[in-house]
Amino acid sequence: MLWKKMFRDIWSNRGSYLACLLLVVLGLMVFTSFSIASDNLSLSQQDFYREENFADGFAELTAMPYRDVEALADIEGLDQVSGRVTREVRVLRPEGDLGIYLELVSLELDDPERLNDARLLEGRELKKGESEVWIDNQFYNVHGLEIGYQLEVIAGERARELTVEGHAMSPEFTYPLRTEAEIYPNPEQYGIAFVSRDTMWNLFPDLQGRVNDLAFTLEEGAEFEEVKDHLKPELEPYGLINLYPREDQVSHLILSEEVAQLQRMSSALPLMFLSIAALILYIMLKRLVEQQRGQIGILKAFGYSKKEIMIHYLAYALTVGFTGGLLGGLIGIYLANPLTWLLLEFFHVPEMYEGFSLYYLVLGVFISLGIFLVAGYQGCKYALRLKPAEAMRPPAPVSGRKTILEKIWLFAEMLTIQGKMAVRNLARNRSRTAFLFLGMTLSCAVVVVTWSLNDLVDKLVFHRFEEVEVYHARVNLAEPLSRKKVEGELLDHAEVIQAESLAEVPVKLSHAWREENVMLLGISQGSYMYIIRDAAGNRVELPEQGIILSERLADKLDVVPGSLLELESLYLRDNEDYLTVEVSRVVPQYLGMNAYMELSALEDILNQGEFATAVMVNVDQGGDNLGQASKSNDNAAIDYNIAELRERYLESDLVAGVDGTEEKIREARKLMETFGSAIYLFVLVGVITAFAIIYSSSFIILSERSRELASMKVLGMTSGEVFSVITFEQWVISFFAVLAGIPLAQMMMEAFSRELSTDLYTVPADLSTQALLMGAAITAVSIWIAQRFALRKVRKLDLVQVLKTRE
């Protein structure tokens, strides 16, 4: 019978329970789908690495005789060593698209256990020395290539043809980025191609018999740092450029971080939803138990034990927890595959779908039940302590006094009777007031935070290209060159009107036991093309000495301005192990994690003379050299001139490529369209959460006050007049709740920022004015809508029935 009572109680307050259930479903849906997607990605990663023999360490060199590679395996701690040839080439497409590049990577065809192998998805084995390639799967699909297609590339300053004999994927390029400055793969403009070593030597005669890249595995138990100490001196004579472990390999880093982030989100987000739902249910159950005091007394009078009554009321919570957990879990399982598919758009790993996961379904249900068991117990324990006689007595009436505010004559005079009732109710029913206040505060904070995610896109991408890197294009050099010569040459071209050098140096920065491998950017003092900004958006000048760090980097190294860092780099000429540099400033950086130094100061400490690895240029925006292009269309002029510049260096081995900023912004906008819908989904979830909280709290309060409201209607007040008591209370509370929502939203945003930020991007923790206004607006709208529903209930109050019922 008690089960019947429970189901009927739930049904009669189904709106509130549904709101709670919705939050549980959302939470468990995220938990299950993200967990499975994370598992899919992780399993795929591990499987891929194992099967294709992914290396433990990498080295980039100028050049080393191939015959010397084998001897390196004798170094203590090294297991397998593989020498490779890698070079980037430009691709010529019939459509005439410029700016398409392939990274050619040699494969050791004779070695069946070769390191960093490529998994052939379709095609045939490559033949040694033949001009044939395997193309990475994404590039192959995006460009609509076919087996047998003749790909034309510029290699060794000549146009060469390569036959596509297959498409493949490799654990080394699961997230192929062309430069450190990129944040997402762009298969339309960059891909990987696998060729035989002999073919590479044919394409690049300057590397005949030599390799410029090493991959190696460690023996079991060996540590990379120890092996590095032995390996480094062996490689330095060959022009060692970079030596790093798998942990710092870009694709591995990003893929692993994605897996870790999915795992973090699979617990953080559901926890948030479940906590809000549990709070609502706790309050609902507490109110229910207080309302049903008399019924509890009867049950006790009849001999129902405390345990039996407790189980009955816990069943309310567990029913919601179980139903929500099961539904959410099943929906999450269904959504896991589309989510995995979305991830595979970015990560080039073999498809691996777990399918139906009983483990996560059951775990999710148990977690939900556990949380609701605690919430339910807390909600009903008080009244169950009452003795039967006490439970059957109505609670002592709250004290009858005027509130402090009413003692202010002016305030008291302003209030109608309904207003006085509202103010006194707020003061006397503190727990009810606190509940509503907390619910509204949470609602507002959730909307503000989710709306802020909209601004996130702008901050991450457009802040970089519109406020920091304010140049038209960037000429990337294939190797460090004299910056004066390069700037001079570029300025000689009609289309280039300004040029400024940039030096990118891979360094290791250490502080105490913390260390980070990052790219140190050398920028000219007073640069007008690369402007470092502080949190307020003001320009930050580079110090003559010292280093500026991004906030995330400073946080990871645990340093503040004034701290001393150890700087190591393979670019240090003077054979020093490290230098000491002082941190002069810490600045926000939303994309990437860099350090900055004044260019001349950087050159001084490296003692390599003046050099640049890239040159930032501004082109003519509408001069005489436009030809057909309209003089009034700045963007068209810029694009045209960048294309001209690119054409000039098409066949140059010294220029790796020319990247236009406007192109990057366009690509970013396209990508953000994909994210945009995900963000709107988040906002929708935020709005639903807000509404669910306010709706359920309104109805709880309405059910408690039905007798009071019915009495007022009997006196002759209209439904609207009667309801104004409640609406006045709610608006008063909402005003303060919205104010309190701001610091809560800030705290939540800071938590999000900590959880979601990676080395690739930093989620800013600040809230925009627009987000705050939207939070207030949506909270107000949610209250208004919930009130419309509640007003309907007031209109339908059965006065006779309500007033007949003993309080």
Binding site: M1, K5, L299, F302, Y304, S305, P388
Partner: protein
């Protein structure tokens, strides 16, 4: 053997900002098969006394025995067992579960009883066979009280405690209820205690305990109790 023995029962409790001394030292005894009325004005301590006798509350001082089992120092578990097996309650305002039907309200009681009576028979006895699928909101006051009686009786308790059972009913309906109580008492040889402020109801009792200001003012035996049909107020 006496069913209930109460000796020097005292009770005080806090209600909001006030301390109430509801009972100040009450002595009495109850036996099987008798209908006892506890008579007193509002605030005399009648409800408190019945709550303590029924195991719904515990005395602040004094001794209470059910047969020879002490109740005054029984823990919560002990009192629960006592109420479950030995006591049935009827209240002035019926206190039915609003979202259970008449049948289900009685069943609520049956499912915890060791030796329950048949629900259909009981509902028939209280004249509600054709109303058993109705919810309390669909029943009149009298009908609700009859469901409450059936619910209390269904457990087959040794002792039936009735707190102002006719307080919300009109005269004819009230008399019907009293008749049911008298019949239960006689038919099943159970002890029935009715607390009321209505002196007229006391005429139908086998004994009357007069309560005033938390003390027993007197105990009177009715040698010829009035049949319930003849009671009038």
């Amino acid at each position: 053997m006496a069913l209930i023995v109460a000796h020097n029962i005292k009770k005080h409790y806090r209600m909001g900002e006030v301390t109430v001394h509801a009972l100040r030292g009450v002595d009495f005894t109850l036996y099987d098969g008798e209908l006892v009325v506890v008579l007193g004005h509002s605030g005399s301590g009648k409800s408190t006394l019945v709550n303590i006798v029924g195991g719904m509350d515990q005395a602040s001082a004094g001794e209470l025995y059910f047969q020879e089992t002490p109740l005054h120092n029984a823990g919560e578990a002990g009192l629960t067992v006592y109420r479950r097996n030995e006591v049935g309650f009827i209240f002035q305002f019926y206190n039915l579960m609003p979202n259970l039907t008449a049948y289900e309200n009685v069943h609520l009681s049956v499912q915890i009883a060791a030796n329950p009576l048949d629900i259909d028979t009981l509902l028939d006895q209280v004249g509600l066979s054709d109303r058993k699928e109705h919810f309390p909101s669909q029943l009149s006051g009298g009908e609700q009280q009859r469901v409450a009686i059936a619910r209390a009786l269904a457990k087959n308790p040794r002792l039936l405690l009735c707190d102002e059972p006719t307080g919300s009913l009109d005269l004819p309906t009230g008399k019907q209820i009293l008749k049911l109580l008298r019949d239960f008492c006689s038919q099943y040889n159970k002890a029935v205690v009715v607390i009321t402020h209505n002196t007229n109801i006391s005429y139908m009792a086998d004994r009357v305990i007069y309560l005033k200001d938390g003390l027993v003012e007197g105990i009177k035996e009715n040698t010829e109790p009035l049949p319930p049909e003849k009671v009038s107020w």
